[in-house]
């Protein structure tokens, strides 16, 4: 196996989606930093939210799709679904980490504290725990099918857990700002900021797609190599 050529030819070409995502991220944050006025009360700290909120959106999207892909795998047993779930979970953990890092940076000047046990903070923290556990589980199971099985089950239960954590910590107490963009009477934000926000959401979503594509390509090559090694 060591001296035989690789069974697949890894593509070294740049993924056009990755290029697009990089451009979108640079463009959106150039606008957020230099061309969007700071918020009147929060000042420059508010600009952290241009990273925080889109990262949170991508994290929830990533974990939601992980759970769906897992459920799909249980029915279809298609390896591609499992590779997608694996990739999406990993990218989701990265974005959740970004949420958990940027949140305290904003919270310290605005709330006066790095951390508070507010409903959404706690929920995000526990999502992070669940999906770090998910990645640890994937690493601990040998055998591709058992791994897909176990992680599909964990992904589905993780999705079921969300309302319960939310409900219990909400009853505990909550301090998080109420939604300012998605609410029935329309967004309460100047149009210039709103546009920047939407651009950042768009850029991060593209970034998510690009990262997952790269991660899925890696997983496919790894599995192909494994198959080839086993003959």
């Amino acid at each position: 196996m060591t001296d035989s050529p690789s069974p697949t030819t890894p593509s070294r070409r740049l993924d056009p989606v990755a290029l697009l995502a990089a451009l979108a991220v640079v463009g959106a944050y150039a606008r957020a930093i230099w061309f969007t006025p700071p918020e009147r009360i929060q000042g420059y700290a508010q600009k952290i939210l241009y990273v925080h909120a889109p990262a949170a959106w991508v994290a929830f999207l990533a974990f939601g799709l992980t759970a769906l892909a897992g459920a799909g795998w249980l029915f279809l047993k298609d390896e591609r679904l499992d590779r997608f779930a694996e990739s999406s979970a990993e990218v989701g953990v990265v974005f959740t980490t970004a949420v958990l890092v940027t949140g305290p940076l904003w919270g310290r000047p605005i709330w006066g504290t790095w951390w508070t046990w507010d409903a959404r903070l706690t929920l995000t923290l526990f999502l992070w725990f669940v999906y770090v556990g998910y990645l640890v589980l994937r690493g601990a199971v040998t055998g591709r099918e058992s791994r897909a099985r176990a992680s599909a089950v964990l992904g589905i239960l993780g999705a079921l857990l969300i309302p319960f954590i939310h409900l219990s910590v909400y009853l505990f107490r909550t301090l998080h700002p109420m939604p300012v963009v998605a609410r029935p009477e329309g967004p309460s934000m100047p149009p210039v900021m709103l546009t920047t926000f939407f651009l950042c959401f768009f850029a991060f979503t593209l970034l998510y797609v690009a990262l997952v594509r790269a991660r899925v390509a890696y997983a496919a090559e790894r599995d192909a190599l494994e198959d080839a090694a086993q003959g």
């Binding site: 601990a140 239960l157 219990s168």
Partner: protein
């Protein structure tokens, strides 16, 4: 197999697990000693002149239950590892839901057994007046134990097939224990402070909902965690 058949098979599996445990008593005694040790150590982890024992007790109780419960859950599939017992169980013509239910019932008996000793122990060491609250307190304990055991049994089954078995179970299970332990500890705190059960009903409702959703979900997904 009909529903009564599943229950009968589950009871037989639970009886088998409890018989093994009763004859060796290894896990039960370890869990018991662990929980008593935890109760004692926690007492000295705080300054008793600053924080009253009655304030500490609910937290101590639930941290203790959580960790001693994990000890029993781990054993649940550990006993099947020897002599290919798990394979034999899978080959046997019983529905896999019955295997889950049987394991879960045995674990529930185990956790309730530990609780039956550690609750009086906490009352004794922390000088708690639990006399009037004992019935609603027991109800909260049972509701929480059902949720912990449903999740714990499923993850113990998953973790048993991995390279990291002992390490993996707490990493997987503890985040799922939060929506059980938090309401249970809050309800316990209210009851121990002499408040009526009606005040803690919001927490009890979360416990009941968690039990219903996760008992059902774990039983449905359990067959998928086993290799064909």
């Amino acid at each position: 197999m009909s529903a009564p058949g599943v229950v009968a098979t589950a009871l037989r599996i639970a009886r088998k697990d409890l018989a093994i445990e009763f004859r060796t008593r290894s896990a039960f005694l370890s869990a018991l000693v662990l929980s008593l040790l935890a109760i004692v150590i926690f007492y000295f982890a705080w300054d008793p002149t600053a924080v009253g024992p009655a304030v500490l007790a609910p937290g101590v109780l639930w941290v203790t239950f959580t960790f001693s419960g994990l000890l029993g859950l781990h054993r649940s599939f550990g006993v099947e590892a020897e002599d290919g017992a798990m394979d034999a169980l899978l080959i046997a013509p019983v529905p896999r839901e019955a295997i889950f239910l049987g394991k879960a019932l045995a674990n529930l008996a185990f956790v309730l057994g530990v609780q039956a000793v550690s609750l009086p122990a906490v009352a004794l060491f922390y000088n708690l007046p639990i006399g009037s609250a004992v019935v609603p307190l027991a109800a909260v304990l049972v509701l929480a134990a059902i949720g912990l055991v449903a999740i714990g049994t499923l993850f113990a089954g998953i973790a048993a097939n991995t390279r990291l078995a002992e390490l993996l179970l707490p990493v997987l299970a503890l985040p799922f224990f939060v929506p059980v332990v938090m309401p249970a500890a809050q309800a316990t705190a209210g009851l121990l402070a002499g408040r009526p059960l009606a005040e803690a009903m919001d927490w009890v409702r979360i416990l009941i909902a968690f039990d219903l959703v996760f008992c059902w979900a774990c039983m449905v997904v359990f067959p998928h965690t086993l290799d064909d």
